[in-house]
Amino acid sequence: MNFLTPAFILDVGLLAMLVVVAFAVVRLRSLFAIVMLQGVYSLISAAWFVSLDAVDVAFTEAAVGAGISTVLMLGAMLLTEREVKPVPMRRQWAPLFIVVITGMAMFYAIGDMPVFGDPNSIANATLGVEYVEATKSQIIIPNVVSAVLASYRGYDTFGETVVVFVAGLGIVLLLGLNGNAGKWRAKPNGQDVSQIGAEDAS
């Protein structure tokens, strides 16, 4: 009965809610509800990350997924319509096929994964041990993850930071979140999107 610990049952509950939210995101037509559901999705998955002992990942998920992406998605919604256009059925078979194949490949790969916390797995047996042992004498900080990210793989992290900065710059340019943003409205096809609702009401 090792599986029926309370934490396990709570995990199952969280994952069940993730499945419900994922299906709802696919099925719903209202873009606003979808943005809200994406925020809920990352809230739930961050709670699940905490139960998996990945507290740093949960921190990132909470900050990026629930906070910033909701704001960015709302900013993107200002530039588009408020409803998803339905996709005809004949164009849905190819994506379904790709998703099923990818899922089957992932299930196939599960067999090759090491057991959780296995001391003989590659990650725990070779380079990881070196990092853990050398961090205290070489970097002189207690956190191994920070040492790997900021020192051992410093150039890698620097490149990632540049990529993230460029991506953020592109998003800001696209969405117009700069100083003029309050006075600027999107006008696709010469039509003021932000005024459509007002015309309908009057």
Binding site: G13, G39, V50, A66
Partner: protein, 116 residues
Amino acid sequence: MTQMLYYINIGTAFLLLIGMALLLARLLSGPTLYDRILAVNSFGTKTVLFLAVFALIIGRDDGVDIAILYALMNFIATIAVLKFFRYSALGISLDDDFIEDEDTVPKASEKKETPI
């Protein structure tokens, strides 16, 4: 005593999970837009409470830090959503002189009900 506290924590976590499921149902069905905003906001609060209790159950104190971060992020998201519906723009400063600018603020008479 410790054992009893443990069971109380687990019971609280399950009740919070049920509450989250109910809020999720409201979020999915929610007839109006404001039901959805309220549902998301309370869902965030429920997640904060759940994380704090869950951190006690698995014996990791870091969970409380994440719970605090959640509370902050929830606030940012709610402000963004409300600004989205009040001004149809996110880059508006909330200073008083800016709000009095007639171009940016829709008058009460022409306030729109966004079809969502």
